[in-house]
């Protein structure tokens, strides 16, 4: 009976959480200098599906808040602004890399150093939640 329940549950949950095909390739967090209030995370966000994917929110138990930001340079002036309503077309990749788009990891709740894995959840507008593990690097 219990076995059956597990099978049914697995089947059911796979229906609810039908895989959207969102991937975060080589996700990593830059180790921060001591007492840093903000860290930056990077990786290639890839839509492997044939449908458009919209990002609704990003969370992590390790940070108070996560936003998507983009750094731009205008004649050498560095500006950082929030990226809202990010959507990925089918098969599209969006790159998060130093000096460009980044996951702005705001107010760490613990010390973030190499060897630690930072789990993040990306909530899609479909309601699906994808979990990724980010590596900490110097």
């Amino acid at each position: 009976m219990r076995f059956l329940f597990i099978i049914v549950f697995c089947f059911y949950s796979s229906l609810i959480f039908a895989d959207s095909g969102l991937q975060l390739i080589d996700p990593w967090v830059r180790q921060s200098p001591p007492n840093a209030k903000n860290l930056a995370g990077y990786g290639e966000l890839k839509n492997t599906s044939a449908l458009k994917i919209k990002i609704a929110a990003i969370e992590s138990a390790f940070f108070e808040k996560i936003e998507m930001h983009v750094t731009t340079f205008e004649n050498g002036m560095m500006k950082m602004s929030e990226v809202k309503n990010l959507a990925l077309s089918p098969k599209e990749s969006v790159y998060f890399e130093p000096g460009g788009r980044h996951f702005m990891l705001i107010k760490p709740k613990s010390i973030i150093k190499p060897g630690i894995i930072v789990p993040i959840q990306i909530r899609l507008s479909s309601g699906e939640v994808k979990r990724f593990d980010m590596q900490v690097r110097r």
């Binding site: 830059r30 921060s32 200098p33 001591p34 007492n35 840093a36 209030k37 903000n38 860290l39 930056a40 930001h69 750094t71 340079f73 004649n75 050498g76 002036m77 560095m78 500006k79 950082m80 130093p98 000096g99 460009g100 980044h102 702005m104 990891l105 110097r138």
Partner: protein
């Protein structure tokens, strides 16, 4: 008449000698992106900062050294750590002069106390120097060096962002701006840029 010619010749020699201290402007190959050379070099303002040990840091501390200077703020999560870790990698390259120094100048003195600066710069390299000053001292760099910045968000809170000019300046041993390198920075670009400027103007 003859003596006049000699006089003119001597004068010309003097003038020529006087001018020759500034060589022809260095030609920058296209392969080095973002490097802009000042010819003649740009004089720095008379300024008085404080370093991460609480000591005065001013024009005298730039004399007799080649310096790489980056203006930023320690709460900067993306660009400043990237540029500082590039400066750290550059500092480990062969072929650099012995009198090299690496300076991080904060344009956010309210939050970046000397203690905060110390932890920040030493994280990247124990030899790096963190400096900052009053707004008036920092703003002296706006006109000659183009150091512009603004605070985005509530500056009474702890959460504001600082948008800032993010070039790396190459300062010569006379304490003058010799060149600057626009972001985004890479290790290869900075290494080639500095060596080109140093080997030409040393």
């Amino acid at each position: 008449m003859k003596s006049n010619i000699i006089l003119v010749a001597i004068l010309a020699l003097f003038l020529n000698y006087g001018c020759s201290s500034e060589p022809e402007p260095l030609t920058v190959p296209q392969s080095i992106k973002g490097l802009i050379v000042d010819s003649p070099p740009t004089k720095l303002p008379d300024f008085k900062f404080i370093d991460h040990n609480g000591k005065v840091f001013g024009n005298a501390q730039l004399k007799n050294n080649w310096s790489l200077v980056f203006f930023g703020y320690t709460n900067c999560p993306d660009v400043c750590p990237t540029s500082l870790s590039i400066m750290d990698k550059i500092s480990k390259q062969p072929g650099l002069p012995d009198n090299m120094q690496y300076i991080f100048a904060s344009v956010d003195p309210k939050r970046d106390t000397p203690e905060k600066l110390k932890g920040f710069v030493e994280y990247f390299n124990a030899k790096f120097i963190g400096v900052t000053g009053t707004k008036a001292e920092i703003d002296k760099f706006q006109e000659p060096l183009g150091v512009i910045y603004d605070y985005d968000g509530d500056t009474n809170s702890d959460d504001y962002v600082v948008n800032h000019f993010a070039a790396i300046y190459i300062i010569d041993p006379k304490g003058r701006e010799r060149a600057y390198v626009l972001p985004p920075h890479s290790e290869k670009q900075m290494n080639e840029a500095f060596k080109l400027v140093y080997n030409y103007y040393k």
